[in-house]
């Protein structure tokens, strides 16, 4: 506590504003203004220590080394300006690049979305075609046109004793489920779709 109090006047040249307690044991009961005068007295008395502790806040230097300071400060200014300008440049450039990448992505998304739409349309068209072609009317009509006649006189073979149940009779052409009557279950979607044998 006591050492901190001792150096504080030096680091705060405005003295009294930062002062929170009596300085360095001298006339401890004195007013704030008295402490300030004591503080400046200490600064003058201990220049070496002061420099060590706080090289940037140095009322004594400001007064003494004018030319040297000007030279020393000119170099960082240019450096900082360059850094900031370059930084700005980098920021703007990367923003530009990001913007280009983003809009490029936007076009890619747009293209992919329209691709997706057109593929979905293809799927729909193909699904519809498949559904129509696999409808029972169409399958049965094609099967019969290829000579596959469903026998309305089923006969079973019993596996346990090899017995034939029923009287086997060949299915004559035209006696199938569709037969001579033709397809009686309409399907508008099959309009214009020829039988496999008719192609």
């Amino acid at each position: 506590m006591s050492s901190s109090v001792a150096y504080s006047p030096v680091r705060r040249p405005l003295g009294a504003f930062g002062q929170t307690g009596p300085a360095l044991g001298a006339s401890a009961s004195g007013p704030a203004s008295a402490s300030a005068s004591v503080a400046s007295g200490v600064a003058v008395d201990l220049p070496g220590l002061d420099t060590l502790l706080d090289p940037f806040v140095q009322p004594i230097r400001r007064i003494s080394i004018v030319a040297a300071r000007a030279n020393r400060r000119a170099r960082p200014k240019v450096f900082y300006a360059a850094v900031i300008v370059a930084g700005l440049g980098v920021v703007m450039l990367s923003q530009l690049m990001m913007s280009i990448a983003l809009s490029d992505g936007a076009y890619t998304i747009n293209r992919l979305m329209s691709d997706q739409k057109s593929q979905a349309r293809s799927i729909q068209a193909l699904t519809e075609e498949l559904g129509t072609l696999s409808s029972p009317q169409n399958l049965a009509a094609n099967a019969e046109s290829l000579g596959m006649v469903q026998n309305t006189n089923p006969v079973w073979l019993r596996m346990s004793d090899g017995a034939v149940i029923g009287t086997p009779t060949a299915a004559a052409p035209g006696t199938g489920a569709i037969g001579a009557a033709g397809s009686q279950v309409p399907n508008e979607l099959l309009t214009g779709i020829p039988l496999v044998t008719g192609q």
Binding site: G105, E128, A140, W156, V185, P186, L189, L190
Partner: protein
């Protein structure tokens, strides 16, 4: 002075700035947003309808309206020469469109010029509505600047008229109009969503600007109990014979005995939901549900089962069956003239004697018989709840029927049932007397596969298992000894059947001189699994139940084959039919 001027200007700017940034801020922001953003309707797709095996019976698709900007196509031009050139170009474009759509190019151009004549700034006219993907892609490839496109959800029915009478159809705006489309609309219906996004000058969506304000909800799928392949076979077979015998209409119901599920419900004439206009409006529904009729002798099965269940009769109970009975207020007769027969109850069913069934039926009080009918779910609509389904009618003042109706209701006249109700009677008899709820829809299937609205599965014991078994035994004797025996026999299987030839009302309170003929039965009879019930309306070329025999035999044989039912391996019991 200068200071005053500066202050004045600064003040002016400050006022304007305040006006723009605060007073008008909201309006201007909204206007800017409108300029950049595009609202978009996201279409919700109506659910599909499937059969029991996963075949799609009704499918949602997109159809495209091709629209045009008449203003851009044939709108006002700077000079007549430019106008003429523009018209010639439009005509050429219209010819290319017409080559794809099969329209008349002049009609397309006329529609555009008419629109411009009515309003020179007209920006919207139809070129063609509801084209499919192929046509749409072809027109789009033409890349005509004044042509625009709109997608609409629509409905297609890949299997056409297969189950068309059941599935129903939708209207031009995709609104449900008939059948399952209508009864299950709450499951199938979708709701559209909206989103807005901002777009650049060339129409490209700006990344990150999409805001979905309302999510689109697709409809759920409906799964039927129908088997599409069997349904097709039944419809084809029904239509073939209905035409051969000149019937005005016909129905065939195939029902699973254990579950009450309808596997096929065929109507003739059938409707193709893809082209409803090709069918008369009266044929567009399902008669099996909506057209009750007097069932006739197939109903004797119910009376016989009631008699046995109540202990009033056995299959061997004796009765004297004259050709005609003319009691007080009663005048009934059998279909063909005969002397007095000495029949057992089994014989009454085999000969289908109206007089014999009337005499035996009197052993039960009218109230008792009505109770049995009600237990068999007659007089009320089935659990299916098909649009326009009828409950049937159990006669005036039931059970205080007049004397004639009291007798007639024992053999299926004087009351009406639907084809579904008739099938349901046989289902209960075949299922050990347990009537199962009739079901057409297995449920509503959400996108995640969960099924809701599954039908009730609790059956009700209508008659005792013993009474049901004895009734099936009697019906087997009908199948093996009746006049149609050779025409309905399926080698290897025991079947149980009952025919019916019913008079029907002429619409003026009297009977017409035409008949509805029917045949209902169960197979395999030793352990009934399937009901097939056939009805034909007024078959002019074969006016008796013989017309239904080939339909019954072919459909039942197909059912036994398709569901791989093992042949019976035993013979039907032999019960005396007379004494």
């Amino acid at each position: 002075m200068a200071m005053v001027l500066i202050a004045l200007f600064v003040g002016l700017f400050a006022v304007r700035l305040f006006d723009l940034q605060v007073v008008q801020a909201q309006t201007l922001n909204a206007a800017a947003e409108d300029n950049r953003s595009v609202p978009l309707k996201i279409l919700g797709m109506r659910g599909d309808i499937y059969d029991a095996t996963g075949v799609v019976l009704a499918h949602s698709v997109l159809r495209y309206d091709i629209t045009a900007s008449p203003k851009a196509a044939v709108g006002p031009s700077a000079t007549p020469e430019i106008a003429a050139a523009k018209l010639a170009e439009t005509r050429a474009d219209a010819t290319r469109i017409a080559a794809i759509t099969g329209q008349n190019p002049d009609d397309i151009v006329a529609a555009l010029t008419d629109a411009v004549a009515a309003d020179s700034a007209a920006d919207y006219a139809y070129v063609v509505k509801q084209v499919d993907v192929e046509t749409f892609e072809a027109i789009k490839a033409l890349d005509i600047p004044w042509v625009y496109y709109e997608a609409h959800p629509a409905r297609t029915y890949p299997d056409g008229a297969v189950a068309g009478n059941l599935v129903g159809y939708v209207g031009a705006a995709n609104e449900a109009q008939a059948g399952v489309e209508l009864s299950e609309d709450s499951c199938l219906a979708a709701s559209d969503g909206t989103e807005t996004y901002e777009r650049s000058e060339d129409g490209v969506r700006i990344p990150g600007s999409t805001v979905e304000t309302v999510a689109a909800v697709d409809g759920s799928d409906v799964v039927l109990t129908i088997d599409a392949d069997l349904q097709w076979f039944v419809q084809q077979t029904l239509a073939k014979y209905a035409q051969e015998y000149g019937a005005g209409w016909g129905t065939v119901v195939v029902q699973e005995v254990r579950t009450g599920k309808l596997l096929a419900v065929a109507d003739y004439p059938s409707v193709d939901p893809n082209n409803v206009d090709a069918t008369a409006a009266s044929d567009a529904g399902s008669r099996a549900f909506t057209a009750p009729f007097e069932p006739g002798s197939t109903f004797k099965t119910l009376t016989a089962a009631s008699l046995i269940d109540s202990g009033q009769a056995t299959p061997l109970s004796h009765v004297l069956a004259p050709y005609r009975i003319t009691d007080d207020g009663v005048d009934i007769n059998d279909s063909e003239s005969h002397g007095t027969w000495r029949l057992t109850l089994t014989g009454v069913l085999k000969e289908s004697s109206n007089t014999g069934m009337s005499r035996l039926g009197q052993l039960l009080s009218p109230q008792q018989r009505l109770d049995y009918m009600t237990a068999f779910h007659l007089g009320t609509t089935s659990e299916v709840g098909f649009p326009g389904e009828e409950p049937g009618y159990l006669g005036d003042n039931a059970p205080d029927w007049n004397a004639q109706t009291d007798y007639a209701t024992t053999f299926g006249q004087g009351l009406t049932t639907t084809a579904i109700q008739t099938a349901s009677i046989y289902q209960a008899i075949g299922n050990g007397g347990v009537r199962m709820p009739v079901s057409l829809v297995s449920g509503c299937r959400a996108a995640d596969g969960t099924i809701t609205d599954a039908p009730a599965t609790a059956g009700s014991q209508v008659v005792s298992p013993q009474a049901a078994r004895e009734t099936v035994d009697m019906l087997e004797n009908v199948a093996t000894k009746g006049w149609l025996a050779s025409r309905i026999a399926i080698p290897g299987y025991r079947i149980a059947t009952k025919t019916g030839t019913a008079q029907h009302s002429d619409g003026n309170g009297d009977y017409a001189d035409t008949f509805n003929v029917s045949l209902a039965g169960l197979a395999p009879a030793e352990d009934p699994q399937y009901v097939v019930s056939v009805s034909l309306g007024d078959p002019v070329r074969m006016n008796n139940s013989g017309a239904t025999a080939p339909i019954f035999r072919e459909v039942m044989a197909q059912v036994l084959k398709q569901f791989q039912v093992i042949p019976s391996g035993s013979s039907s019991p032999d019960i005396d039919t007379d004494w």
